[in-house]
Amino acid sequence: MRILLVEDDPTVKSFIVRGLKEAGHSVEYADNGKDGLALATNVQFDIIILDRMLPSDVDGLHIVEALRKKNDATPVLLLSALSDVDEKVAGLQAGADDYVTKPFSFSELQARIDALVRRNRNDPQLPLTRLAIGDLEIDLLSRTAKRAGQKIDLQPREFRLLEFLMRNAGQVVTRTMLLENVWDYHFDPQTNVIDVHISRLRQKIDKPFGRPLVHTIRNAGYMLQE
């Protein structure tokens, strides 16, 4: 993937660039808003990662707004030390697709980049009605799940959890992403609630079938994979 990173802090920049390059992406970067905007408008990227606050008068929000005004739909991920709910809302309203608060772990960033790119590749004109991985399949219309032809009973929320995992199959999803997307909670509870929900889901979709599909990725989150 071609990724543009606009970040003024050299340490954060090299941290992200190194991680992304190791993951096999090609990364271009700018350390100020003007150069960032110029690159973003002239070169086609798969995803753009923007620091919310940048030196000079062009900050992350300006860049997103400028891109969206030109009908450029490249997925944009905002990085910010401003953790305010209002700040997040402002970022998303400006046209950004996701928002990661500093400090963050690389696995969190990686997971969100993957989710964004994947979401962008799915053609929104043709809504999916069926998702499948291995012998596990779910029907999004009848909200039912089957594995190896056997029907699995799921609570509505369990179905949403599974749906989110399947939509991001083969990619890491973090606990924060699950909280935001499955429960719409924008804060972290102290107890390991997500882990317990995942373990329940495993009881239903993995345990009776021997071969596990839900994998725990240490220090990062979970991944649904064959």
Partner: protein, 474 residues
């Protein structure tokens, strides 16, 4: 030199005019003089004006009578008619002059036709030459059928005297009023100055750091007391916020430095003593977890500060409180089962509440989180929600919601309950559980933003947290 002193004078006036009290005084004086002038002009119009109008009326009716007499008694001559009138005039006020076509005097008590009078049927107030004396009079000329011209007038000596006297009186009244207005203005200014200086003395004391000072509320002056009370309320709020800031800086000093020190020490020790890569990795991973915890603390602190600043009221919406509670119960059900705890609830069908939905989600999640953390196996956690009608003795008359989260856990001592909502406070029995000591502080900040209260009590064993808040902040 002259220019210089003039400049100084204007500068001085400009400064003086900027003084609010002086401006109030001046405004008072101007208003007073203006209304007095209006009043006096009414008096003038009512006396002098009335007399003048009466004189004019008497002249026109006199002329009317003369014309009528001439028509009724064709044989009577105008000459006799006027002479008769002159004889009958006891007050010696009436003036008549009859002249022929050539302007020659026929009869009357004036010596000659005044040269200024050229047109008939219009009013003149002029100096006329009488047979005996000259004086000011109001006159009007008429054309006679025989070609003669008749001048009828009234002596205005009395009126002139009256108007002189009135002018003199009014002038004195003006002087008196001006004096009164000026002293009234000065008095207003002094009063205002006294009030303002009391405020400014207090506020400057506060500026210098004495936050205990408050504006006096005497109970004599309703408006002023209202202002003082509002300012005092504001000062109370500032004092509370300052306490908060002080508390936060103390907390930062202690509760943030401790994990920072730990992280630093761990890294330093690893640099010096680690013998292989695995040992290094282990230490680094441990440090990262420590820093993540620190990040959580920072976010929570910022969030509390932000909520306490009250900036998010703009995001308030109407939402169903019961729906978020059901979601949270569903969210925690698996954990509770895992820990062998029972989650029970009693909710109404719906309960519409006006506030910040995300904040209340977080507040309830914090409370349930705590309850689960401190409950022993087999314990029951109860959530209940209801509407309570306002008590007659309470300040607000709006219906309130009451949310109770009750557990059968370790509970808290009386002393701990009193401090439970303080930032970073952790009861002794909580030291070994994960947490930052900010959960209840956050809940309190959220509840207070919605105009509500939070209270803790013991259920022996266990803790009961009661939250009340008005259904809508009116």
């Amino acid at each position: 030199m002259k220019v210089f002193s003039f400049r100084r004078l204007t500068a001085l006036t400009r400064i003086k005019l900027r003084s609010v009290s002086l401006r109030f005084g001046l405004a008072y004086a101007v208003l007073f003089i203006g209304s007095a002038m209006l009043f006096l002009s009414f008096i003038w119009w009512g006396t002098v004006g009335l007399i003048e109008r009466q004189t004019e009326q008497s002249i026109t009716s006199d002329a009317h009578l003369i014309f009528n007499a001439l028509q009724l008694h064709k044989d009577t001559s105008l000459n006799t008619l006027i002479n008769e009138r002159l004889e009958q005039d006891i007050d010696d006020n009436a003036l008549y002059l009859l002249v022929n076509k050539n302007g020659k005097r026929i009869t009357g008590n004036l010596i000659e036709w005044p040269s200024v009078i050229k047109t008939t049927h219009s009013w003149y107030t002029i100096l006329v030459k009488r047979v005996d004396i000259d004086n000011v009079a109001k006159v009007r000329a008429y054309d006679m059928p025989g070609g003669e011209r008749l001048l009828i007038g009234r002596d205005m000596r009395g009126l002139t005297e009256l108007s002189h006297m009135l002018t003199k009186v009014l002038l004195w009244v003006c002087v008196m009023i001006a004096l009164l207005a000026f002293s009234g203005g000065l008095l207003t200014r002094r009063l205002l100055r006294r009030i303002i200086s009391s405020i400014s003395r207090t506020t400057s004391a506060i500026t210098q750091g004495d936050m205990t000072r408050r504006l006096p509320v005497h109970g004599q002056d309703k408006e002023l007391d209202a202002v003082s009370a509002t300012v005092n309320e504001m000062l109370d709020r500032i004092a509370r916020l300052m306490d908060g800031v002080k508390q936060v800086s103390n907390s930062i000093a202690h509760d943030l430095r401790t994990p920072l020190t730990r992280a630093r020490n761990q890294l330093e020790e690893a640099v010096i003593h680690a013998t292989n890569e695995d040992e290094l990795r282990a230490v680094i991973n441990q440090t990262i977890r420590g820093l993540d915890h620190l990040t959580n603390i920072c976010s929570a602190l910022l969030r509390i500060a932000q909520i306490e600043a009250g900036a998010r009221r703009s995001a308030f919406t109407q939402f169903d409180f019961v729906a978020i509670l059901h979601d949270i119960i569903e969210f925690y059900e698996p954990v509770a089962e895992e820990e062998n705890l029972k989650l029970t609830h009693s909710f109404p069908e719906t309960l519409m509440f006006f506030g910040d939905r995300t904040m209340f989600q977080q507040a309830v999640v914090n409370l349930v989180d705590n309850a689960i953390k401190f409950s022993p196996a087999g314990g029951v956690i109860t959530l209940s929600l209801k509407v309570i009608s306002p008590q007659p003795d309470q300040k607000s008359s709006h219906p309130q919601m009451e949310l109770i989260v009750e557990d059968q856990g370790t509970g808290m001592t009386e002393a701990d309950m009193a401090r439970a909502t303080e930032r970073f406070f952790r009861a002794d029995q909580a030291r070994n559980t994960p947490g930052s000591g900010l959960g209840l502080s956050l809940v309190q900040a959220i509840v207070q933003l919605h105009g509500g209260t939070i209270s803790l009590s013991s259920t022996n064993p266990g803790l009961r947290v009661v939250i009340t808040a008005p259904l809508s902040l009116a």
